[in-house]
């Protein structure tokens, strides 16, 4: 009886300790940026209109943190995204909460036969749902932050990825009101330790990273659409270092590859 009581107390203590450790990390990972910071994403696009694996030439997009401003009472990063070549006319401006990168306002800018136009997306800024880049070639897909370590050791940056890991799943109802009609979609997000086949992608980034920086494989799914997004995030990087979607493959360009960081007019 006494033995059972001790075992029970020990189990309770273990559960309490493990919960404490988890609670300590519950804030998780949210990228932090500085005004003036820039990075470049390179996206290759698959032409789904034609048979087979037809890929169009990659385009580079400059992500530029232009300002920190208050919007709806919240401090936001104002992120300006534009093409590295002047022929890429699509642009986007994102107002993202400094606290959790929750999108509060998104403006898409695009070319038409009668010149440039812009459109503000309908964003539910009370919901921390993932941002899926839709109706734009700019790859600004973004998960709901923070990303939380599922298993401390398994997610440190220098793992081979061969350990089993649990995942954290979230579900959202995305309601978009367009022209007085609202459309509801279920969006799910799952984050976990990167699969083994993806773990080598981190190799190029590990030289600059510290061992305690976590890595995350995030999957975002939207029902009744083919918009499955898979991203790899790394605590030391300003944006996902890789993204795969059915019609695009995206990579964060390492700074060593920058030819002209200002871009825009190359």
């Amino acid at each position: 009886m006494k033995k059972n009581l001790i075992i029970s107390l020990l189990l309770i203590a273990i559960v309490f300790i493990s919960n404490s450790v988890y609670a300590g990390n519950e804030d998780g990972f949210v990228p932090v940026w500085k005004v003036g910071q820039k990075w470049i994403l390179e996206a290759a696009y698959r032409d789904l209109r034609v048979e087979g694996e037809a890929w169009l030439p990659a385009m580079q997009w400059i992500f530029h943190v232009r300002a920190k401003k208050e919007f709806n009472g919240e401090e936001c990063y104002v992120l300006h995204i534009y093409g590295r070549k002047v022929s890429q006319k699509n642009q986007a401006i994102l107002w993202l909460s400094v606290n959790d990168l929750r999108p509060l306002k998104v403006i898409d800018v695009f070319p038409t036969s009668s010149g440039m136009k812009y459109k503000e997306r309908d964003i539910n800024n009370q919901s921390a749902e993932p941002l899926v880049a839709e109706g734009t070639p700019i790859p600004y897909d973004m998960p709901s932050f923070p990303l939380v370590r599922t298993e401390n050791r398994a997610q440190s940056a220098n793992i081979s990825g061969d350990k089993t890991s649990s995942s954290i799943a979230k579900k959202f109802s995305r309601i978009r009101s367009i022209g007085g009609i609202s459309f509801k979609r279920s969006v799910s997000q799952k984050s976990k330790t990167p699969d083994k086949k993806l773990s080598d992608i981190f190799n190029g980034y590990l030289k600059q990273s510290r061992n305690n920086e976590a890595t995350f494989q995030v999957e975002i799914n939207e029902d009744r659409s083919s918009n499955k997004v898979v991203q790899l995030w790394h605590e030391g990087s300003p944006w996902a270092i890789r993204e795969n979607k059915r019609d695009r493959k995206v990579r964060l360009v390492p700074e060593s590859e920058y030819v002209n960081r200002d871009g825009g007019n190359n």
Binding site: R66, V86, Q88, I181, F183
Partner: protein, 328 residues
């Protein structure tokens, strides 16, 4: 008479929600332009047509040679049947409809003859060059192309997604869309620029909206010299299902539209360079010369392709009507 009144009163009493009708419509202005779809079999791009000689690509080569001193070889490449752009034995439906669709949505219609270095590029020549240049273009793609395999879903693109795209792009005035209007394996691309949609709830099912939508497509069954927008209309019927809060959550094609509905939708966002080892687009065509031919004044004697623009990204925001000083 009294019995009829009682029956009517009963029907009204038991109906959970009264039948109501709503509607929405939209139109993109200026509309995409009509143009020839440049059949591979007929080969107008390289052979010209009755009353039109030299052909558009012969004119292009002559002009570029007059500027650079070198024949770019666009006509030669296009004429080579190995590249599958001109082929007297091609299927009668094979052509450049996707290039025309992309160009018609993203570029202004050429409405005047432009003389470049003494060569008269008529509107048909200009449309021919634009239709070739936009064979490769970046686009946002919706639905899944149907290839005729057993495991594919012929209902895709789903009507709830299609309805959302109509409202999001056309009712909002954002952009025209391009649809493959055949649900089966064949592909017939047409720009969709206008729609009218109305719906009502059923007597006993207020979670179902019965929708009728008329879509207006730009027609490419026109002579090469045609100017303006010739259209044809297609009616679609479908049900949209809503939840308790009135949010659309799914849909199904109904009636003839079960088999006759768009296969996929794409929205062009910009011209793309020709990928290596691809024959989808003529690699000898240089977009900066096409721009020089299809834009600007009616007469230019000393042809020089426009130098690459050195505009700042903020200039495009200003052109769109945004103020960078306010934004940032």
């Amino acid at each position: 008479m009294r019995k009829l009144s009682i029956v009517l009163a009963l029907m009204l009493a038991i109906a959970p929600v009264s039948v109501f009708a709503e509607s929405i419509s939209g139109e993109i202005k200026p509309s995409p332009w009509s143009g020839d779809w440049w059949s591979r079999k007929k080969g107008f791009l390289v052979k010209g047509w009755k009353g039109h000689s030299p052909s558009p690509f012969e004119k292009y080569d002559s002009y570029v040679k007059s500027v650079t001193g070198r024949n770019p070889g666009a006509h030669s490449w296009e004429s080579n049947t190995n590249n599958h752009h001109y082929n007297p034995n091609a299927e009668p439906w094979e052509g450049h409809c996707n290039g025309w669709s992309g160009a018609a949505v993203l570029t202004k219609e050429p409405k005047i003859t432009r003389n470049r270095g003494g060569i008269a590029f008529e509107t048909a020549d200009q449309k021919a060059l634009l239709s070739e240049q936009y064979m490769n273009c970046y686009c946002n793609f919706y639905g899944n192309r149907y290839w005729g395999n057993d495991n594919e879903d012929m209902d895709d693109i789903y009507p709830d997604e299609f309805h959302r795209l109509l409202i999001d792009n056309i009712a909002s005035g954002k952009t025209a869309m391009v649809c493959d209007i055949e649900a089966d394996r064949m592909v017939w691309n047409y720009p969709l620029y206008k729609f009218e949609s109305s719906w009502s709830t059923g007597w006993f099912d207020d979670h179902k909206l019965k929708v009728k939508t008329t879509c207006y497509y730009v027609n490419d069954d026109v002579p090469p010299e045609y100017l303006g927008t010739k259209w044809f209309a297609v009616n679609y019927t479908y049900n949209l299902y809503v939840d308790d809060n009135g949010n659309v959550i799914s849909g199904e094609w109904t009636g003839d539209s079960k088999k006759n509905h768009p296969d996929f939708v794409w929205i062009p966002t910009g011209d793309a360079r020709v990928p290596s080892n691809s024959t989808l687009e003529n690699p000898c065509l240089d977009p900066k010369f096409v721009k020089d031919i299809c834009e600007g004044p009616a007469n230019k004697q000393n042809g020089r392709a426009a130098a690459p623009s050195s505009r700042n990204p903020d200039d495009l925001l200003v052109e769109a009507g945004l103020d960078p000083n306010e934004l940032f």
